[in-house]
């Protein structure tokens, strides 16, 4: 696939929308933050390393960097509080941060329980907790006609049984099914929950899993980010027609 050209931006769709991206300082997450910011979205992103968070927030003016670990129970509400506070609401959550589990791919029989638990904490329980914490904000956004989307970054390993990918696969399979059920349950609230496989990308995590892979055979994260944003755009309400009719009058009473 030719990687020469980044497709056009999504200004009409994302301008003014408030988006939180986890794992936003490298790979696909960073590409999403860049593209969303360039499209006029108001973006907050989360990552564990303070230095990287501050650097990315400086590099992409207007974005809000949040230091936190989605795998940690006690980090979730502080992350949600900062994101919703800084963005004054939330329309889109992208659960992108992922953990491979063991530091290198391993047969399940050789996988430490703690490594499986880490993959589940980062890839399944973390997105579950963070989504719950922002559900009120998302439902308000849906009621107000802006739409609300949760995009969970999945993998073909969520569906297929690849030997040595056990911890990661099991967590992504859980996340994929969680997304499907939540999408059904939240339909009446107007919230869409998507699970999307971005494909094999040239990212730090892929290099960790498959150190010998030829980067030329891998998708650039910018291309994957564009494809993900297309899917989110398709899940948002079409403008004007689906926005509730205006109130009789508006005014400040301050």
């Amino acid at each position: 696939m030719p990687h020469s050209e980044i497709p056009a931006s999504f200004e009409q769709t994302f301008s003014g929308l408030r988006v939180l991206v986890t794992g936003g300082t490298s790979g696909l997450g960073l590409a999403l933050v860049r593209k969303l910011a360039a499209s006029g979205a108001r973006v907050a992103f989360v990552a564990r390393g303070r230095e990287r968070v501050e650097r990315v927030a400086r590099e992409i003016p207007g974005t809000h960097g949040i230091v936190g670990d989605v795998a940690s129970k006690t980090d979730i509400h502080p992350i949600a509080l900062q994101a919703v506070g800084e963005l004054e609401g939330l329309d889109i959550l992208i659960n992108n941060a992922s953990d491979l589990g063991p530091s290198a791919l391993a047969l399940l029989g050789d996988t430490d329980c703690e490594d499986l638990e880490r993959a589940l904490a980062a890839n399944l329980v973390g997105p579950f907790r963070l989504t719950k914490a922002v559900l009120g904000s998302l439902s308000a956004s849906a009621r107000e006609g802006r739409g609300a989307v949760v995009l969970n970054v999945s993998s073909d390993a969520a569906i297929n049984a690849y030997p040595t990918w056990g911890a990661y696969s099991a967590s992504k399979a859980g996340l994929h099914h969680l997304s499907r059920i939540w999408n059904e349950e939240l339909a009446s609230e107007g919230i869409r929950v998507l699970s999307v496989d971005p494909g094999d990308m040239d990212t730090p995590m892929h290099a960790q899993a498959v150190p010998d892979a030829d980067p030329a055979t891998l998708k650039r994260p910018e291309i994957a980010a564009h494809e993900l944003l297309e899917q989110i755009a398709a899940a948002l309400p079409k403008h004007s027609s689906e926005i509730p009719e205006a109130a009789p009058a508006t005014g400040d009473r301050a």
């Binding site: 502080p78 904000s137 308000a140 109130a247 301050a254």
Partner: protein, 353 residues
């Protein structure tokens, strides 16, 4: 009344006293409250998320320990995290009953406070030695991070264990602007909201920055509730207008929703979208023009929340409610049991001018 001392938002044993339009009582399990509503009713909740507004630290000039409780937004701007009104206590924490808490060291304009990762300056004294206006150092993102990491939910001595944010955020919690939880909304679960849809009951939200409920000082408590900024969205204003036009009832979840809607509808009963600051005080003299019924926690006589209930029922009915709650051992405070009160004389569409 007995204080609910466990931070469980929806205990299976939660009770509800229904007070109908003629002041008659019925006791039902609270998780069945949806069945007490009518198709066409519009339920309105406060979707404010609660800030971890208790910040421990030091009063720099004296070196004394203090607890700062953020208590109010000085203007309509709930997105300006640089400035807050705050109540300051001396050493100690929530385990001591608020009225027994130590006073802070004498505070003066210009005093510096060191609150974990946060630093602030006293920029105003608000007519009481404990009530100050604060300005935080740093960029807004740094202040948000400091509050998120260092702050703890404001709590009181009736709950022993420290509260976490997930204890005090309702399921619909959105904008983090409240200083104490809009706790009537603890009764809501997503299953409840789904049942509302199924019964043909509308559900929308407003946002009101609920302030603190107690300062431990009688004189200061008389000033409660402090002014509370609120926001009403276009979608909510439209839903209210349609319900009113069709003669359908407005059911408020919590006193904060009543305060905001009645402030917004002051005069003509028409609730317009936009931002406002609720400065109204509702009591038995108030004529409600927007809200027809309220789902609320149980409140003790003498509090501003209890006064507000007198706007819904006659003094005689309110006295009977208090006796009934005591006689049936209803639990009080934020994790306690509930009341659903239909406004006396406020039948379908009643109160619409």
């Amino acid at each position: 009344m007995i204080a609910a001392d466990r931070p469980v938002q929806r205990p299976p044993t939660a009770k509800l006293l229904m007070v109908d339009i003629e002041g008659r009582f019925a006791h039902v399990p609270r998780d069945q409250f949806v069945d007490l509503l009518r198709p066409g009713d519009l339920v309105i909740a406060n979707d404010a998320a609660t800030l971890p507004a208790s910040l421990h630290g030091l009063h720099v000039p004296s070196g004394d320990a203090v607890e700062v409780r953020l208590a109010g937004w000085p203007a309509t701007a709930t997105n300006d995290v640089t400035h807050f009104d705050a109540v300051v206590f001396g050493a100690g924490d929530y385990h001591t009953r608020t009225e027994h808490r130590m006073s802070p060291p004498p505070l003066s304009i210009g005093d510096r406070l060191s609150l974990g990762p946060l630093s602030a300056t006293v920029v105003g004294m608000l007519g009481h030695p404990r009530l100050v206006s604060l300005e935080f150092d740093g960029r807004p993102d740094e202040i948000w991070a400091g509050i998120a990491r260092h702050g703890r939910p404001i709590q009181y001595a009736h709950i022993e264990e420290p509260l976490a944010l997930w204890d005090v955020w309702t399921v619909v919690a959105g904008p983090p602007v409240a200083f104490e939880p809009p706790s009537a909304g603890f009764a809501l679960s997503w299953a409840t909201i789904e049942r509302l849809h199924q019964r043909g009951v509308g559900f929308v939200t407003i946002t009101l920055a609920s302030g603190i409920s107690s300062t431990g000082d009688t004189e200061l408590d008389r000033r409660l509730p402090l002014p509370e900024p609120y926001r009403i969205s276009e979608a909510t204003a439209t839903a209210i207008a349609r319900a009113k036009l069709a003669g359908r009832r407005i059911v408020a979840i919590g006193t904060s929703v009543v305060r905001a809607l009645e402030h917004a509808g002051e005069g003509d009963g028409i609730v317009r979208a936009g931002d406002g600051v609720a400065t109204n005080r509702l009591d038995q003299r108030s004529h409600l023009t927007v809200v027809d019924a309220i789902l609320t926690g149980t409140h003790e006589p003498g509090t501003s929340h209890h006064d507000l209930l007198a706007a819904f029922v006659t003094p005689d009915t309110l006295a009977r409610i208090d006796q009934e709650l005591d006689a049936h051992q209803y639990l009080t405070h934020e994790f306690g049991d509930s009341l659903l009160i239909e406004r006396t004389g406020g039948g379908i569409g009643g109160g619409t001018p």
